[in-house]
Symmetry: C2
């Protein structure tokens, strides 16, 4: 059986060249949405827009880790959806360690001193001995945990129950049984997780269970010298509560890569909130080489009728 692949990405030519190199059997490239396209490699936005014009779609390989648009219960679910994993962990871990070091080693303050021609040799801090708390310890969280241990940090992990990373020193869970946790159970577990943290890092996806989990209660439970970093999804944060916490110096600062609405609207208060640094959903850039490798591996499994890697469960949401 022949397969027809449509690539929906500004890097289409790059992806095509990388895939052609692998000389996959029975694979043709389509130039645009056609009734016989059965495989798509694409970025969520253009792919979601094309979804209804692809009647033969059997498998969609997303170029991004976030596949939220496809999870809407009103959308079709008659195809295999695969995400990408394992490629962002190292990059996001670089991002987190980079901002942790910028904070400890006063990288921005030193630049100010240089601009003022001031020999500013006040002591700096170190990551060694500090405590980092990871909200969510999946494949990305586990890589952050490993890097944090490399620098001599203590690592706490908050998960719904799984304890898969050996680099987490102490796990916190909302429940002891396998039933759904109550709001109080979750609040108590978060409270105990947040106390004594120097750094809180959210790696949480956007699901019903994670929405606004970083709210006033969790932020108030953090020590006032703590820094919050969000490399997961903006929906996990109560943005008003974070602005209030920063305005009132309840925490020392925040570094945000993701937001409820992206791009961040021009009138959003985040642009000028004190002690808030932002980046622009750039913590985990997609490198075509990494994604093409996953596609090629999954294509081989697909033609053999085997289970694909990183398949997304539409109900669970990841």
């Amino acid at each position: 059986m022949r397969h027809k692949l449509l690539i929906l990405s500004p890097d289409r030519d790059k992806y095509r060249a990388l895939i052609e190199e692998a000389r996959l059997v029975d694979l043709e490239f389509a130039d645009d949405s056609a009734s016989d396209v059965d495989i798509v490699l694409g970025e969520p936005k253009p792919t979601f827009a094309a979804l209804d014009s692809l009647p033969a779609l059997g498998w969609l390989q997303s170029i991004w880790a976030g596949v939220e648009p496809f999870l809407d219960p009103a959308s079709r679910r008659d195809y295999i959806l695969t995400s990408v994993r394992g490629v962002f962990g190292g990059l996001i871990s670089e991002y987190v360690i980079g901002y942790l070091l910028a904070h400890e080693r006063k990288i921005f303050q030193r630049l100010e001193a240089q601009k003022n021609k001031t020999w500013e040799d006040s002591d700096t801090g170190t990551l060694r001995g500090k405590t980092i708390g990871l909200l969510g310890v999946g494949s990305i969280g586990a890589e952050i945990a490993e890097a944090a241990k490399f620098f001599g940090m203590t690592v706490r992990g908050y998960t719904m129950g799984s304890e898969t990373s050996k680099h987490v020193d102490k796990y916190f869970h909302p429940l002891d049984s396998d039933s759904s946790p109550s709001k109080q159970q979750q609040a108590a577990a978060l409270q105990s997780f947040a106390s004594e943290l120097d750094y809180l890092v959210s790696v949480l996806p956007n699901t019903m269970a994670t929405r606004k989990i970083v709210g006033a209660d969790l932020l108030n439970a953090l020590p006032s010298h703590a820094l919050f970093i969000n490399v997961g999804r903006g929906q996990a944060v109560d943005e008003s509560a974070l602005i209030e916490a920063l305005n009132q110096n309840k925490i020392a600062g925040a570094v945000l890569d993701v937001f409820e609405q992206e791009p961040l609207p021009a009138e959003h208060p985040f642009w000028t909130t004190p002690n808030l640094l932002m980046t622009f959903h750039t913590a985990g850039p997609s490198f075509a080489e990494d994604i093409a490798k996953i596609f090629i591996e999954n294509y081989r499994l697909f033609v053999e009728g085997k289970p694909l890697k990183y398949r997304v469960d539409f109900e669970r949401g990841y």
Copy 2:
């Protein structure tokens, strides 16, 4: 035999408390330079000033890694001089990785974009796959090498001959025999070491052999996208050559923690040289706890008449 210890540091009370906790035998504390002081724990400057008023000095434990003032052949050498090692490696490695990540992940550009309220989501780089070259691979260089490997970098090391770190992928030496290298041999080895580097990091001490080793030839041998970082000593750099390389965009940038003259004079061109970031001899802060631990260990060896750790050879200079 009783010993009398003089502590010459603004952190004197902190050191005294840390040392008292260890309940060392036969140790008294002196309040100021006295004829019976036989041990000094001190920072180089006040200690060097006090040197001639300490006739009974038998052992000086420096609080800093740099012990240059004491190496002057005109100064007395009738005592044991010990330096501190093993405590700065982790801190300096944090500093180097911090600035590498700031460069790759565009930490300063993102801050500018935020100030301009611009959603600037251009791709960033990664340390993975980049090549770092270490000028000098002693205990500090070895820790930088280990951190670089952790982030997936290729590590080159330039040394006078020793190959002690297993984290260096390829070593470069100025000579094949154990004779003194000629200027040409050294230049050729440096040239070959510098080619293809993304990052050049000097960890070199200030000795006759290292003076101005980072000069026009070495800087010209670097790729134009390379970044130079100096966490060793300022004397290893030809400052005029570096300013010229930066002004002419022969390299992408420099991060300097050390300078020929410190504090850097107000009129020095470095303050405003393009693509130059500076810090203020703050890459490897001394933490009293670490230094006190070394002193305590060495004191126990001293009273037992055993060889002390990190003893400096006055002739060799380290």
